[in-house]
């Protein structure tokens, strides 16, 4: 019995056997028949079999269920994978069976769980993108309704490819959106600038197009409609701008005309300078804020109307101005203005309001034109009259001058008066012919026109006649004086015979002349003040340019020598010396180029500043001695210059040039003897000859010339360029 407890089947078998045994004992006791016993045993066997069959069926059903579950899971897994466009993670390999069915099911369940999660994630992504797309589409199309909340995601296709496709679509939409936004902003900008110029409220204008546009921070409506509306608004404003601009320019034009007419003071104009400077501007040139605002236009309009009013009130002044202009012209042409009274009457009439001022203005203008025309016809004769007048003036001056006993005394500017007298004499000699020509011209003019030629109201012919008479009288007077002089001369001769010789007035004059010419004084000053010219050097003119003296100098010599031939030599030496003070030479003059002259120019080099110019009184030979010394010296110096030029490179900016030394210094100190404040006195330019442009040989060896800026910037010419430069 204890053994049977350890094994229930065995125990059961034991129990079955013991039960059978008990049954046999019971049957034996009862005395059942064998047949009954067999039947009972068969029944027992049948019932046992039934129980077994039931259990087997049950187990079989359970197995089928598990199989079905596995197949379902696998199917789902495959469906998810295909929807997500991925290779199935799990493909059951029948040959590699994992064991029994329950294990298999356990293995597949976590996989399917994970795939479900992934699918869910993917779906969320899709939803997100689709939402975005929908939102963008909505913004772009501006369907005023709300975004429809129904979002249908096609569960069958959740592949990455599809996602990318959608994302691409989204990006495209985003791009379009930003483009539209940019367009809107562009439009807003131009609208803003237009509003600024026109003085309009930008916010209001924009809000009218779409309320969202006025908000600087918030999102802007970017639909096609809005953009078109914006464009239309811009177009409208631009039209307004052009309109206003034309209006303003018209106003500015009339402003300018009025100013011009009335000589409006500049300060008054200044206020509108901004407006008038845009008279000819084109539409896009006007950008100044508020330039075309209604305020400005009305402001300018007011000014124009004010000026218009002023103009009418000033009409009288204008008339007077024109009248004075007329009188001015008359005065200039020596005409007597015709019947002033009629104009005076007209002005009175304007004051009383009887006559329109513009009418009078026109009348005066017609008058002016008439007078101008007449003046033109008179011009020829007037010019001649002018000449005649000048000649007469010179004549009277000459008379005055001739009376002056001291006229030959040396003094400042004496040589100028002398010159003037000479000119005057020539002019006076011409006077009779001038008068004759004038008279004939005038009478022909009078014949032609049939009216008298008046000069300041007097008939010109009678003036000429008067003058002729006066002249004849003077002639007679002069003749009388000459006779008297002759008488004096005779008296003098008698005295000479009695008391010995005495200087003749003629000789006296010449001795006086000497010192006057030589004393530096005014004449010297004038010479040195005159600019001294030089010819900019030509290649072959190193010496010859120095040698040529200037024309004025030559002229002077000619004239003086004409006056007094005996003085000529001395004077020339002296004056050329003096010229050397400030001049180096002047080319292209028709004067001889003698070598001594060239050296004479260097004479002042040796002279100390302020030393007396006494050499004029010394003999000529003495002077030439000095000159010869100078010759050699000068040559040496020239030599030196050239060599120094050869060696010194171009690049040193502040180098010394020895030849210039004395040339420079002498004129500076000598030219102006009275410079109390030298900075304000005009100083002659130091025009001097440039040494002949002999290119130093060192140039080729030297580097290429560079300016200060190039050297500072470290600029170096490329090598191929350098070569070509050397060849040049």
């Amino acid at each position: 019995m204890s053994n049977g407890q350890s094994d229930p089947l065995l125990q059961m078998e034991t129990t079955c056997g013991s039960l059978l045994y008990e049954l046999q004992i019971i049957w034996d006791e009862v005395g059942e028949s064998d047949a009954e016993r067999d039947r009972m045993l068969l029944e027992l066997e049948r019932e046992c079999l039934e129980v077994y069959r039931r259990k087997v069926d049950q187990a079989n059903r359970c197995r089928a269920q598990i199989r079905q579950a596995i197949a379902d899971s696998e199917a789902e897994l495959a469906a998810i994978c295909s929807a997500m466009g991925e290779r199935p993670v799990h493909i059951r390999q029948s040959d590699q069976n994992l064991g029994n069915l329950k294990e298999e099911l356990r293995a597949i369940l976590p996989q399917i769980e994970e795939m479900r999660k992934r699918k869910c994630d993917r779906k969320n992504q899709f939803v997100e993108v689709l939402e975005q797309i929908q939102k963008l589409k909505h913004e772009l199309s501006n369907s005023s309704g709300y975004i429809s909340t129904t979002l249908v995601v096609d569960e069958a296709d959740l592949s990455l490819r599809k996602l990318e496709e959608l994302q691409r679509e989204m990006l495209a939409l985003q791009n379009e959106k930003s483009e539209r936004l940019k367009q809107v902003l562009d439009h807003l900008n131009s609208l803003n600038s237009l509003c600024l110029v026109l003085g309009m409220d930008f916010k209001q204008t924009v809000s009218e197009v779409h309320p969202s546009l006025g908000d600087p921070e918030g999102s802007k409506n970017i639909s096609h409609d809005t953009i078109q509306q914006l464009a239309a608004a811009i177009q409208k404003l631009r039209e307004i701008k052009i309109q206003r601009m034309q209006r303003l320019q018209d106003l500015a034009m009339s402003l300018l005309q009025l100013w011009n007419l009335m000589d409006t003071p500049l300060e008054e104009q200044q206020v509108f300078q901004k407006v008038t400077c845009n008279v000819a501007a084109s539409e896009n040139e006007i950008v100044e804020p508020n330039m075309l605002s209604i305020d400005i236009i009305t402001f300018v309009e007011k000014e124009v109307s004010r000026l218009e009013e002023l103009k009418t009130s000033k009409m009288k002044e204008l008339v007077l101005k024109k009248k004075s202009e007329l009188e001015d012209i008359c005065r200039k042409t020596h005409l007597i203005p015709e019947t002033d009274s009629s104009l005076d009457i007209a002005i009175e009439a304007i004051e009383s309001g009887a006559v329109d001022a513009t009418y009078v203005l026109e009348k005066i203008e017609v008058e002016i034109a008439k007078v101008k025309e007449e003046a033109f016809s008179r011009k020829d004769i007037l010019d001649k009259v002018e000449k005649w007048m000048v000649a007469c003036e010179e004549e009277s001056w000459l008379e005055e001058y001739n009376r002056d006993e001291n006229r030959y005394n040396a003094g400042r500017g004496a040589h100028l008066t002398l010159k003037r007298a000479e000119k005057a004499r020539v002019l006076v000699n011409k006077l009779p012919t001038i008068v004759d020509a004038l008279a004939s011209k005038t009478s022909s003019w009078e014949n032609e026109r049939g009216i008298e030629f008046t000069y300041d109201g007097v008939r010109l012919l009678s003036m000429l006649e008067e003058y002729n008479i006066l002249r004849q009288e003077k002639e007679q007077e002069r003749k009388r004086q000459r006779d008297q002089k002759k008488l004096q001369g005779q008296l003098l001769a008698e005295q000479e015979a009695l008391y010995g010789s005495k200087p003749s007035p003629m000789k006296n004059q010449s001795t006086k002349k000497g010192p006057r010419l030589s004393c530096g004084g005014a004449s010297n000053r004038r010479l040195s003040l005159g600019g001294t010219i030089l010819q900019t050097p030509k290649h072959d003119m190193l010496h010859s340019t120095k040698a040529t003296p200037n024309t004025r100098h030559a002229k002077k010599n000619d004239r003086l020598s004409h006056d007094n031939p005996t003085r000529d030599d001395r004077f020339q030496a002296m004056s050329s010396g003096r010229r050397g003070l400030d001049i180096a030479g002047l080319p292209l003059k028709p004067h001889s180029l003698n070598p001594t002259n060239a050296h004479e120019i260097e004479l002042p080099i040796m002279r100390k500043p302020f030393s007396p110019i006494s050499s004029t009184d010394s003999s000529k030979s003495k002077a030439t001695n000095i000159l010869e010394d100078l010759n050699t010296k000068h040559n040496e110096m020239l030599q030196k210059t050239l060599t120094s030029n050869n060696t010194s490179p171009f690049t040193t900016p502040s180098k010394t040039i020895s030849t210039m030394d004395e040339e420079n210094r002498t004129p500076k100190t000598m030219a102006i003897p009275m410079p109390s404040t030298p900075s304000t006195v005009s100083v002659p330019m130091l025009t001097a000859i440039t040494p002949a442009p002999c290119v130093p040989k060192s140039m080729e060896d030297e580097d290429i010339e560079y300016s200060f800026e190039e050297r500072r910037a470290g600029f170096v010419l490329p090598k191929d360029h350098r070569k070509s430069l050397v060849q040049i």
Binding site: Q535, P653, S658, M660, S679, T680, A688, F708, F715
Partner: protein, 340 residues
């Protein structure tokens, strides 16, 4: 003679921090445009003594000029030509040369910008095509040498280059020079400026000399030309000669001022061949000069021009002096001239 105040004029505050390459007054106001080696371009209001704007470039700015009162052009050592709009602080690139751009001029007659460069070319630009070189460049004209100075009057353009070449162009026909000349002066050209009356030009050299030239090629026309010495100093019997960096013509009287490395500014009357005035000495070399539009102001850039290489020097400064009429008006002859 009345005592003249010995002043150099009002000094502008906040000057450039390095050498001043050029300065110019506007044709419309007293605005003054200044370019400098410190890579900046500055706009001053000269009458108010105020700095109105500043632009920084990629290299030293070698020249500048006005377009209108609100914009200008610059020539830069980074080879670039730029247009500046002052009140918007905007800069456009007009185009580029192959080497530093030395000088720039704007022609009111043709509306073109003309630049000269060390790449031995002259280029004309249309400032309205500001969006790229291919649209703004009008033409490129080869020069015999590196361009050192330009000047314009009316339709005439005078180009001075290294090697003492001078080309005279007609802006309406830029294909070839109207005249090809050689400088009358023996040494390197520093500056060339046309007479305001359009009959000729003045040209200065590194050797203290200025030549007065005329366009008229007839013998009579050429006989008027001359040269004179200036900006020199006598010391111990030796003449020290200074470069003449700048010439500026007075817009009304046609007289002109020269500035040299000696720090002096002289005013000359070219017709009467006289020096009218010498201003008191400035601290260092005169790098540039400009008269204002009405000639009442003279801007003087006192700035070392590196004539003696890198060495310690006075600070760079801009002086604006009001010009007395006496200083610039041609003096009538002392006595009535008897010559008719």
């Amino acid at each position: 003679m009345t005592a003249v105040p010995q002043s150099t004029g009002r000094e502008l505050t906040s000057p450039p921090t390095d050498g001043i390459s050029n300065l110019r007054f506007s044709n419309h106001s007293d605005n003054l445009l200044v370019s400098s080696w410190d890579k900046s371009v500055r706009l001053y209001d000269a009458s108010a003594n105020a700095l109105r704007g500043e632009f920084m470039h990629g290299g030293a700015v070698l020249d500048c000029c006005f377009h209108d009162d609100s914009s200008g052009f610059t020539a830069c050592a980074d080879h670039t030509v730029r247009r500046l709009v002052f009140n918007h602080s905007r800069e456009d690139i007009l185009g580029r040369h192959d080497a530093p751009v030395r000088c720039i001029e704007y022609s009111y007659a043709t509306g073109q910008v003309i630049t000269g460069s060390w790449d031995k070319t002259l280029k004309c630009w249309d400032p309205r095509g500001a969006s790229g070189q291919e649209r703004s460049l009008i033409g490129t004209y080869t020069q015999p040498e590196r361009v050192y100075s330009l000047s314009l009057v009316g339709n005439r353009l005078v180009v001075a280059t290294a090697g003492r070449h001078v080309n005279v162009y007609d802006l309406r026909n830029m294909n070839q020079p109207e005249q090809r000349r050689e400088s009358s002066l023996k040494y390197q050209t520093r500056c060339v400026r046309c007479y305001p009356n359009g009959t000729g030009y003045a040209l200065s050299s590194v050797e203290g000399r200025v030549a007065m030239e005329f366009f008229d090629l007839s013998e009579a026309g050429q006989s008027k030309k001359y040269a004179f010495k200036c900006h020199r100093k006598s010391e111990a019997g030796r003449d020290i000669v200074y470069p003449v960096n700048s010439i500026a013509f007075h817009p009304i009287y046609g007289t002109f001022a020269t500035g040299g490395c000696d720090g002096y500014v002289n005013v000359w009357d070219g017709n009467n061949k006289k020096r009218l005035y010498q201003y008191p000495k400035y601290p260092t070399s005169i790098a540039a000069l400009s008269f204002s539009r009405d000639g009442r102001l003279l801007a003087v850039a006192s700035s070392y021009t590196y004539e003696e290489g890198d060495k310690p020097h006075e600070p760079d400064a801009i002086f604006v002096r009001s010009v007395n009429e006496v200083e610039v008006k041609p003096k009538p002859k002392m006595l009535p001239n008897p010559a008719t």
